[in-house]
């Protein structure tokens, strides 16, 4: 059916209000069921044996003793997961990551798994598996891994994207380049040039719910899986392919999800649970422990980034470059590429060039983490932008406004922008009272901008009008932060019914066509747009039914305020029919009433944010506290403003943790030293202030309501904003994230020493 996805500028009745979320009661009473909360008859407990070495050849695995232990029902190794990937390197990497084959590539890499009658037996069985390793030299640091002398992870890895193709294998998996203009010429025009190198350490998404699934594969080759995931269709497709099953035969039901932030867009132990279940012929529940989550699932890259920006005295950036090195764990990723694309997306630049290097190291496979790769690039770029502004004596916000991208700007990564929000967020920041609030002793203020692409993707939605006039919306996109409420609001808006009469559910993989994951800030945009279209399709059916009831032509009926009405005086004089009345008569007018749609949602609107942050330093200990924080972001249109604010605040909080304290600490032995919430320090309640939010609404022309994604952009500016604030408070530029107390104290001491040396020399 034809539909219009363009922005209509309509006035809303319920969209933009703040009703109670439909899953609220279940979640406050403990009834909501997450990944580990499901049980199946006869279920076994699955556990995974993991490599204690950063890099080792697996010489031999002897599982015979474990198999003989009473209560053990299945033991698997990579031999139970034959390579069915047919030359698809990305799928093969996934398979290797789920279960090591020839080599263990990082501390925590799975090497075997067991299914037993209970956790204690499974734990014992793991101890009875004898793995003979030949330990190999390892490398965990991104810069070290790029050196010619570094131990090479893959003998068949030759850097892609360079001509000629290198003859020697290395850990540099790929080079990418973006930009336009002539940067050399641009730097010649500059009055001021600032060049600096930055480092960021590896962080984890830190979802509170560990990965968990309940897998059940029968001897007839049919299977079911209950799993916490951001994309059950993608999990289904990948697991089915790795296990040699038809996608139709593996029905995946998504549990409530206890946080993902990108970490649950990749399969980890799910294929192992399915393989164990298949071998044991019993359901297998597999729940990762917290240290397994840290060691073997989803961190983001650690990075090393060089930035150079030149500007004229009157505040125009003449040229900008960045070289970005991101490690992706042991496999080729897209992480440096995303960093290179996003680095300068906020600015309107004549001459810009960014180069990204994907690097492999002996650390866990990197997964997406909320606007993956953008926060690190923004940290480096926005730090230098601040420094350039200071050097030419211009206010940091003013300097950014002068150089901000706008409608018609050719972005540094290629496309030309439509209407965008970077300018408005900067102007809102400039006018925000936070910017003018006085600062106390040892306090500093910083601000920074951030960008994220946002995504649309494949979406399939069904909307059913029930005989009693209530409405069910079945979506295939996981609800990570309240999207069922948003979908219900959208359906209510379109159909003209009350929000309370609509229930949105996340359907399983057998009930809808493929849906991409809940990633790329795409759910409210794409599933929301699909709900609009499905509802409009349902309205057409409702009008047809009314026409039938009135015995007039279909095109003589229109839909208004939740009612079918005759289109005009010529159509006849009938009192409006409510959705409820039409639904009640459906059995006699053609049967069930529904609206469907499936499409690729194009036109996700890019999103920008500006953050302002105040910090207070303890100059004697290097301790930092964020004392005030403001997020200003363009939402396009906020469907449920409370959950938009929640995304802004949550992203900011994750960014604050990343900026100040979170980091993976590896020992010389290549093993992760802080695989737990005690020493991997995510912010606690007493670490943070209230986080103020300003929602701007610059409509996305490609969405009927103007919606842009909101989930990810909020984590992009914090590293930079806090680094600018700390640098301003400390009087010294901070170039290494996290800015942990030892790093800040050292920077302060070094500054003092430099000052003293200078005084002495004078």
């Amino acid at each position: 059916m034809a539909y219009d996805t363009n922005y209509t500028g309509q006035k809303f009745k319920v969209v933009g209000t703040r009703p109670l979320r439909p899953d609220g009661v279940d979640k406050v009473t403990g009834r909501a069921r997450y990944g580990a909360d499901a049980f199946a008859p006869g279920q076994l407990v699955g556990r995974v044996l993991r490599s204690p070495h950063a890099h080792a050849k697996i010489v031999k695995i002897d599982t015979s003793k474990a198999e003989r232990l009473a209560g053990v029902k299945a033991v698997i190794t990579s031999a139970d997961l034959p390579d069915l990937t047919n030359g698809d390197q990305a799928m093969y990497d996934m398979l290797v990551n789920c279960m090591a084959r020839e080599k263990a590539l990082y501390d925590g890499h799975a090497v075997a798994a067991v299914a037993a009658i209970d956790a204690a037996t499974a734990k014992k069985a793991l101890k009875l598996i004898n793995v003979e390793y030949k330990v190999l030299p390892h490398v965990t640091d991104v810069d070290e891994a790029m050196k010619p002398s570094a131990p090479v992870l893959h003998a068949n890895m030759f850097t892609e994207g360079v001509e000629p193709k290198p003859a020697k294998a290395s850990n540099i998996a790929k080079r990418t380049e973006f930009g336009h203009g002539d940067v050399e010429a641009g730097f010649k025009e500059a009055d001021v040039i600032v060049e600096r190198s930055f480092r960021t350490e590896q962080t984890h998404q830190g979802y509170i719910e560990p990965h968990a699934c309940l897998a059940n594969v029968g001897p007839d080759g049919q299977g079911e899986m209950w799993v916490c995931t951001q994309g059950h269709f993608v999990y289904r497709n990948h697991c089915a392919q790795l296990l040699g099953m038809d996608a139709a035969k593996l029905r995946v039901t998504a549990s409530e999800i206890g946080g993902g932030f990108g970490g649950k867009t990749h399969i980890w132990a799910e294929p192992l649970a399915l393989a164990l279940s298949r071998k044991a012929n019993r359901p297998v529940k597999l729940v990762m422990t917290r240290d397994e989550v840290f060691k073997a699932s989803g961190p983001t890259s650690s990075t090393s980034i060089d930035v150079k920006i030149g500007a004229t005295k009157d505040g125009r950036i003449t040229a900008a470059t960045a070289t970005l090195r991101y490690q992706g764990g042991p496999f080729l990723g897209i992480w440096a590429e995303l960093g290179a694309m996003t680095s300068y997306a906020c600015y309107d630049l004549k001459n810009v060039k960014t180069v990204g290097y994907e690097v492999v190291v002996n650390r866990p496979k990197v997964a997406a983490y909320r606007a993956p790769s953008a926060p690190m690039a923004a940290f480096a770029v926005e730090s230098v932008v601040d420094e350039v502004a200071a050097k030419i004596g211009m206010d940091a916000v003013e300097f950014r406004i002068k150089n901000a991208a706008k409608e018609g700007t050719k972005s540094s990564y290629g496309p030309t922008y439509g209407p965008i929000g970077i300018g408005p967020t900067l102007e809102a920041a400039q006018n925000h009272p936070h910017m003018r609030a006085p600062l106390g002793k040892n306090q500093g203020r910083g601000m920074a901008c951030g960008f994220w692409f946002n995504f649309g993707g494949q979406t399939c939605t069904s909307l059913n009008v029930n005989p009693d006039g209530s409405v069910t919306v079945a979506v295939g996109t996981i609800d990570v932060g309240g999207s069922r409420a948003s979908m219900a609001l959208i359906a209510a808006e379109e159909l003209g019914v009350a929000y309370e009469n609509v229930r949105c559910v996340v359907a399983d993989t057998s009930s809808l066509g493929h849906n991409d994951m809940s990633d790329g800030s795409r759910v409210t945009f794409s599933s929301g747009m699909n709900t609009v279209i499905a509802a409009r399709n349902a309205k057409k059916v409702l009008c047809q039914r009314a026409a039938k009831m009135w015995k007039i032509p279909e095109d003589a009926v229109t839909w208004e305020d939740g009612h079918a009405k005759p289109a005009g005086a010529n159509a006849g004089d009938f009192p409006p029919l409510s959705l409820k009345e039409i639904a009640a008569a459906a059995a006699n007018t053609g049967g069930p009433i529904a609206g469907h749609n499936e499409f690729v949602a194009d036109g996700a609107g890019v999103s920008f944010a500006t953050h302002i942050c105040d910090v207070e330093l303890d100059p004697e200990t290097g301790a930092t506290r964020v004392i005030r924080y403001t997020v200003i972001q363009d939402a396009g249109k906020a469907i449920h403003p409370s959950y938009v604010e929640g995304q802004y605040q949550g992203g900011a909080a994750q960014g604050i943790g990343w900026a100040l304290n979170e980091e993976y600490v590896y020992g010389k032995d290549g093993r992760l030293q802080n695989a737990g919430f005690l020493d991997y320090r995510i912010p606690v309640c007493s670490d943070l202030p209230m986080i103020d939010t300003v929602i701007l609404e610059i409509p996305n022309p490609n969405h009927p309501y103007g919606v842009r994604g909101v989930g990810e952009t909020s984590i992009v500016p914090p590293l930079a904003a806090i680094a600018n604030a700390v640098s301003n408070a400390a009087g010294v530029r901070m170039t290494h994230i996290p800015m942990s107390p030892p790093r800040i104290l050292k920077a302060l001491d070094d500054k003092k020493a430099r000052k003293a040396a200078k005084a002495k020399a004078a």
Binding site: K65, K127, D291, T621, N661, Q673, L678, S686
Partner: protein, 318 residues
């Protein structure tokens, strides 16, 4: 199973990570006859411990023990829960001070009379873990974990607290600083249990304080810490002092030169600087995931100064 759990909750000190346990050590089947016992008297507890041929573990708050068990660092054959022994649950005011039972939780201690006399000790104990952990954790457990980063220990050492140890032989009393001999090791013999801690009676014009450095505002292990206890004369001059440092050496340190630096002073800036210098000089930490040598050494002095000021003020000094 290998992970960092041994160091969780201040159990041990990473610089001395000597626990290179085989990652998949052979202990097929683990302990098949593990028992849980909750005796109602100290004597019964000692008997259980003496009779046990395998490994035994004492369960007080359990906030360290269960973490160690979960990580596979300890697989006891016998768990002796001491929380049902009435004597271990009591806080007594005695002629010579206070007696705090081994199973007294952080919350119970926080609500008790001890807080007024020894605010530094109680604050230190109440810094361990979260509010949830405070409902369970005990000072004696904290001490017997023998972590140099244990929060309550520097405060106890500064306070001159004694541990009352019962066992198959005679009851004995030793200074708290003699309990831990190395990270994760204590001087207790088989069958011995710390029954209680003794805190001395407070003379007039006395005060104590404990401060630790953690990167977050809560939920962390001390990167470095300092406990200070002072007694003033009528003129406000410090006549007695004890200074203890945590997380800067294999065990909590009692730093005599640091005490000496402030005795005879009114805690003027010069005395404070000397105190800080003495503390920094006493440190022998190493770099680890929680902090650097440089950081610990420097901040030990900073914290000692700050704690001394609080203790001095609490003692009535101006």
């Amino acid at each position: 199973m290998d992970d960092n759990r041994l160091f969780a909750k201040g159990l041990a000190f990473p610089p001395f990570e000597k626990s290179k346990r085989e990652p998949h050590a052979s202990n097929p089947g683990g302990s098949r006859f593990m028992r849980y016992e909750a005796p109602s008297s100290t004597k019964a507890a000692v008997t259980l411990l003496m009779k046990e041929k395998g490994k035994s573990a004492i369960l007080a708050g359990g906030t360290d023990l269960l973490v160690r068990m979960k990580g596979g660092f300890i697989e006891p054959d016998l768990i002796v829960d001491i929380k049902r022994i009435p004597a271990m649950r009591e806080i007594k005011k005695t002629a010579s001070g206070f007696q705090v039972g081994a199973a007294v939780s952080g919350n119970e201690l926080g609500r008790s009379v001890v807080k007024k006399a020894w605010p530094g000790v109680v604050e230190a104990a109440n810094l361990i873990g979260s509010k949830q952990v405070q409902g369970r954790c005990t000072m004696v457990g904290n001490m017997c974990n023998a972590s140099p980063a244990a929060d309550s220990v520097p405060a106890l050492v500064a306070a001159g607290a004694q541990a009352v140890i019962v066992g198959p032989k005679k009851k004995r009393t030793i200074p708290v600083e003699k309990v831990s001999t190395a990270p994760g090791r204590t001087s207790l013999a088989k069958g011995e249990i710390v029954e209680s801690l003794l805190l001395p009676k407070r003379p007039p014009r006395s005060g104590d304080a404990y401060l630790r450095f953690i990167p977050r505002s809560e939920m962390d292990i001390a990167v470095v810490s300092a406990g200070v206890n002072v007694v003033l004369d009528a003129k406000g001059v410090i006549k007695e002092a004890r200074v203890a440092l945590g997380a800067v050496a294999p065990t909590v340190l009692l730093v005599a030169p640091a005490a000496k630096a402030i005795i005879g002073t009114k805690l003027d800036d010069e005395a404070l600087d000397k105190l800080a210098a003495a503390c920094s000089a006493a440190c022998s930490p190493i770099d680890d995931k929680r902090g650097t040598i440089e950081f610990r050494t420097k901040v030990a002095g900073v914290l000692a100064k700050r704690a001394a000021k609080i203790a001095y003020q609490r003692a009535g000094g101006k």
